[in-house]
């Protein structure tokens, strides 16, 4: 698992207060989500690319992470243009591509890519535990923060457990085939994983109680002031105003 690969950089963005990045990303997401004007959406895309550039994200990794959403978008492009009712754009035998269908597809594609890139630049550049602490400081409910942090922590343990089980199967010469034995073995594997995870949860809860846990989450993280914080605020505010003007005023 290598989810933290973006989090390890040292760019300008990495140094900005995680709380500001979190708030900025959410604000941009809200504005982009309710915008439909193409100028606005293209501007948003350009801004997201600018942020990615500032965060010095590795282009190849960005593209790799965009593959899944792009596949989903291709599916939309395959279905929406002809199934949507409206003024026809192109008729081709029995199939009619409608103008509203194509417009909708283009809007969804632009929004998706712009948002994904923005989130990669602003949020994927912090570790999950930093995100948890930032959420805590923004008065997010303790329960959710603890859940996020513990899920993140035990994902690795469960993955290790999974690998151990898989190894145990392999050294006894298990070869996956399409037969009942293979299916049953995989079913056992998954079953055992669930049992172990729930046993683990019980013990971890015990360990937390032993150390006085009563549902309250305390964060130790200090988010130190940084001269770039102000500049970042200005940049995000400016972007938001620009997008809003493009969408609703012009």
């Amino acid at each position: 698992m290598n989810q933290d690969s973006f989090a390890e950089g040292h760019s300008v963005i990495h140094r900005i207060d995680p709380r500001l990045r979190l708030v900025g990303a959410v604000a941009l997401a809200v504005v982009v989500a309710v915008s439909y004007d193409f100028t606005t959406l293209i501007t948003a895309l350009a801004l997201s690319l600018l942020l990615a550039l500032m965060a010095q994200l590795d282009l190849r990794t960005v593209i790799r992470r965009l593959l899944a959403p792009i596949l989903f978008l291709l599916l939309l492009w395959a279905v929406l243009p002809w199934s949507f009712k409206g003024e026809s754009f192109l008729t081709w035998g029995l199939i009619t591509l409608t103008r509203p269908g194509i417009t909708l597809c283009a809007q969804i594609s632009l929004k998706t890519i712009a948002l994904m890139v923005t989130f990669m630049a602003l949020l994927a550049t912090m570790t999950v535990d930093t995100l948890g602490h930032a959420l805590n400081r923004l008065r997010f409910p303790d329960k959710l923060v603890v859940m996020l942090l513990i899920t993140f922590r035990y994902l690795f343990v469960i993955e290790q457990e999974y690998r151990r089980l898989l190894r145990a199967m392999k050294i006894r010469n298990f070869q996956p085939k399409t037969n009942l034995h293979s299916y049953r073995t995989y079913a056992y594997l998954i079953g055992i994983l669930f049992v172990r995870a729930s046993e683990r949860a019980r013990r971890v809860h015990g360990a937390m109680i032993c150390r006085g846990f009563s549902g309250k989450f305390f964060s130790l993280r200090e988010f130190s002031p940084h001269p770039w914080n102000g500049a970042f605020c200005f940049f995000i505010t400016f972007s938001l105003i620009l997008l809003i003007i493009l969408e609703w005023v012009v």
Partner: protein, 242 residues
């Protein structure tokens, strides 16, 4: 000789996991202040279960638990017990649930109502004491097995308990780290109970060795001199066993 007060006493405890037979059967166990008790018993004889019952994590079917002069029954009674008794879990991955070492070690002190600075202070002091200086920002799941054990011990010690229950603290440690652990344990001014399968370790840390049989504790088995076979580096050279 002055008899020191009893800090924890389990009387006539019976416990079994749901649908299973009794693991603890009419068990009696007392810890006096300043005791150093080693517990040796075969796998599956219920040592871990005993510790969890003592901490109130598992509820006995019958019997009474008395800690620090009071009978403890309800969940609320155990809050104080858990503050004053520290339990080191058998599996360090159960104990270390925070993303970084500092977060984890400070978790207990913060729950006890310490301020951030105080908690960080205690955590750093504890880490220094265990020779883990510089581990603060390490990610817990990326530590080695031995490092996890020591950090787990730090998380328990940071709560400044009066009694320590250690579930196989020496398992998986190399010779040097084990020596270090023995020194640390011997320098602590606490009541200690440790589970271990290693006689070498116990003979250097424990005053009494107890064992378990049929769900009960057998007290004060004297250490016997015995001959044994085992592999050694430099096995040719003379060496000492106690």
């Amino acid at each position: 000789m002055i008899v020191s007060p009893v800090v924890l006493s389990l009387k006539k405890i019976c416990f079994g996991y749901p649908g299973g037979q009794l693991i603890l059967n009419d068990l009696d166990f007392h810890i006096h202040a300043g005791d150093r008790i080693g517990l040796v018993a075969p796998n599956g004889s219920g040592k871990t279960t005993l510790f969890h019952v003592a901490m109130g994590l598992l509820k006995p079917v019958s019997g009474t638990i008395e800690a620090f002069g009071k009978v403890r029954k309800k969940e609320a009674d155990f809050v104080e017990v858990r503050r004053r008794i520290g339990l080191l879990f058998q599996d360090a991955d159960d104990q270390l649930f925070s993303p970084t070492v500092l977060d984890d070690v400070a978790f207990g002190p913060l729950n006890l109502g310490k301020t951030r600075e105080e908690a960080v202070n205690v955590a750093e002091k504890t880490l220094d004491f265990l020779g883990l200086t510089g581990f603060e920002d390490r990610v817990t799941h990326k530590l080695s097995g031995g490092e996890k054990r020591l950090v787990s011990l730090a998380t328990v010690l940071a709560m400044e308990p009066e009694v320590l229950l250690l579930d196989e603290p020496s398992t998986g440690l190399d010779a040097a780290t084990k020596e270090k652990l023995i020194d640390i344990l011997n320098s602590l001014d606490l009541s200690l109970v440790f589970i271990s399968h290693e006689f070498d370790f116990l003979s250097q840390t424990a005053q009494h060795i107890y064992t378990m049989e049929n769900g009960r504790i057998l007290f004060d088995k004297e250490l016997h001199l015995h001959t044994h076979q085992h592999a050694h580096l430099m096995g040719q050279q003379p060496h000492k066993h106690i």
